[in-house]
């Protein structure tokens, strides 16, 4: 069986980047869907919990979760590989060194925003996924969003994600060879829009932080918050 081509996706610079780009684009798509899910919070407890129940009762969901895990791993492993290799090989020793206009804050901080997003993800998983869901998902989420520290982590995480995607989205298209004078400007704008959309996660949490809901406040927090 011919497997060289699969190997090339792991061993060559462009193959690895393609894996990183495809997984990144799919994860970006997932983030948009996830944001839409979060918007259901505004429709109220019934709508939100109904959606979550549908997901949990659907036999396909674990498979999707597994797929998501695979995407994350693929993205993290190839990304780390590329970046660590570059970090070790980066030109060094200059007394003076200027960037000449190509670099952006987003592109220059990819490694750091990636680390921040990973931490954000871990925090998110521990607080919402691997925890006691007995109080109901809507309650759990909206209560969490009333903890200023929790929201601060959320805002920081979303900002890192937005910065990450501000470079990552258009970069993924370039890596996959999609570059055309007609479409590339649109792709770049689209990428920025997706990045900006990521601040939606933060905005929702801030909305609940600033909102006054006595009932929830009296009930106190019953989710484990890792600080």
């Amino acid at each position: 069986m011919e497997i060289t081509f699969i190997k090339r996706f792991i061993t060559t610079s462009i193959g690895r980047k393609a894996v990183m780009a495809v997984s990144g684009l799919l994860l970006g798509g997932f983030m948009l869907v996830h944001l839409a899910e979060n918007l259901l919070l505004f429709k109220g407890e019934a709508a939100y919990n109904g959606w979550v129940d549908m997901l949990l009762s659907n036999p396909v969901t674990p498979l999707l979760e597994l797929g998501l895990l695979f995407l994350f791993l693929a993205h993290i492993i190839t990304g780390a590989w590329v970046r660590v290799e570059d970090f070790l090989n980066a030109p060094s020793g200059y007394e003076a060194r200027k960037w000449q206009g190509g670099r952006t804050i987003g592109s220059a901080t990819m490694l750091y925003t990636a680390a921040a997003v990973l931490a954000y993800l871990a925090y998110h998983m521990l607080t919402f996924r691997f925890t006691d869901h007995s109080m109901g998902f809507y309650q759990m989420v909206t209560y969490a969003f009333r903890d200023p520290v929790f929201v601060a982590v959320y805002v920081a995480g979303s900002a890192a994600l937005a910065l990450h995607l501000s470079h990552g989205m258009q970069s993924a298209f370039q890596t996959l060879g999609v570059n055309h004078p007609k479409y590339t400007p649109l792709i770049k704008i689209g990428g920025i829009l997706v990045a900006v959309a990521m601040t939606g996660f933060a905005l929702i949490s801030v909305y609940y932080l600033l909102g006054i809901d006595i009932k929830a406040a009296q009930a106190g927090y019953n989710v484990v918050i890792i600080r």
Partner: protein, 255 residues
């Protein structure tokens, strides 16, 4: 021809006696500089001074001094090929500087281009990438009439844009990761855009990328510093095309 007042600068240049020797920055005063002088002519004057004092002149490479041979390459005050946009350092003129300036002059510092001496580096990795497939395999004498194969004018122009690469290595140097993607992408693009390069497209993309990786160039993180400094204004669209050529070849060719 504007301005004729002569002035002085201090050059801080990287001195390194050999590939394995330690190096350091050394300062030199250079006097009586005309604004019409090219930057390399200023270094010539410095070197002649050093020579007369019995010191060893600074080794740096240059040849045509009209921006086409690709021999020269310095990092001037942190700028690859100096502060002028899309230019080689031999085309930089002293009118860009003023009296009393301190100018740092450093070599390409890239893993794939080891320093040989002072400001001269070894860029032979670029030749090895070309040898891996940057050609069309037609023997001399085997070609049909040149006009038997029409080439869409826009495509021919785009191929020429890519082919304008002078192999100076500025793209590698400007890259935060020391990647050789713009160089390799330009050659793959040129030959992918022309029908003449068609029969070997898949093979070329796979083998040139493999050769590039082997030479120790870094990965591309799409930051486009290369495009910003390229003396011939070669576009990163060529890197995208290389990616496309490579991925399509990997997925759909028999190789």
């Amino acid at each position: 021809m504007k301005g004729s007042k002569h002035f002085s600068v201090t050059v801080r240049a990287w001195r390194q006696a050999g590939p394995a020797e330690p190096g350091k920055m050394v300062s030199y005063k250079v006097k009586d500089i005309s604004p019409d002088m090219s930057f390399l002519e200023m270094l010539d004057i410095l070197n002649d001074d050093l020579l007369k004092k019995g010191e060893t002149p600074i080794t740096f490479e240059s040849d045509c001094r009209e921006g086409i041979c690709g021999s020269c390459g310095l990092v001037v005050n942190g700028d690859v090929h100096g502060p002028d946009e899309h230019s080689t350092v031999c085309q930089l003129h002293m009118r860009r500087f003023s009296d009393g300036d301190v100018i740092t002059v450093e070599p390409w510092r890239v893993k794939a281009f080891p320093i040989l001496k002072d400001l001269a580096v070894d860029r032979s990795a670029l030749d090895r990438v070309i040898a891996a497939g940057g050609f069309v395999s037609i023997n001399t004498g085997a070609a049909a009439d040149a006009n038997a194969t029409p080439v869409e004018k826009d495509k021919a122009e785009e191929a020429m844009d890519a082919a304008a690469c002078i192999g100076c290595g500025a793209c590698v140097t400007s890259c935060p990761n020391g990647a050789g993607m713009l160089f390799t992408g330009a050659k793959i693009s040129q030959l992918a855009l022309l029908p003449q390069g068609g029969p070997e497209r898949a093979k070329r993309a796979l083998s040139m990328v493999a050769a590039m990786d082997k030479e120790g160039f870094g990965n591309c993180t799409n930051e486009y510093e290369c495009e910003a400094v390229c003396p011939k204004d070669i576009k990163v669209a060529n890197i995208a095309r290389m990616n496309r050529e490579f991925l399509l070849a990997n997925l759909f060719s028999k190789r």
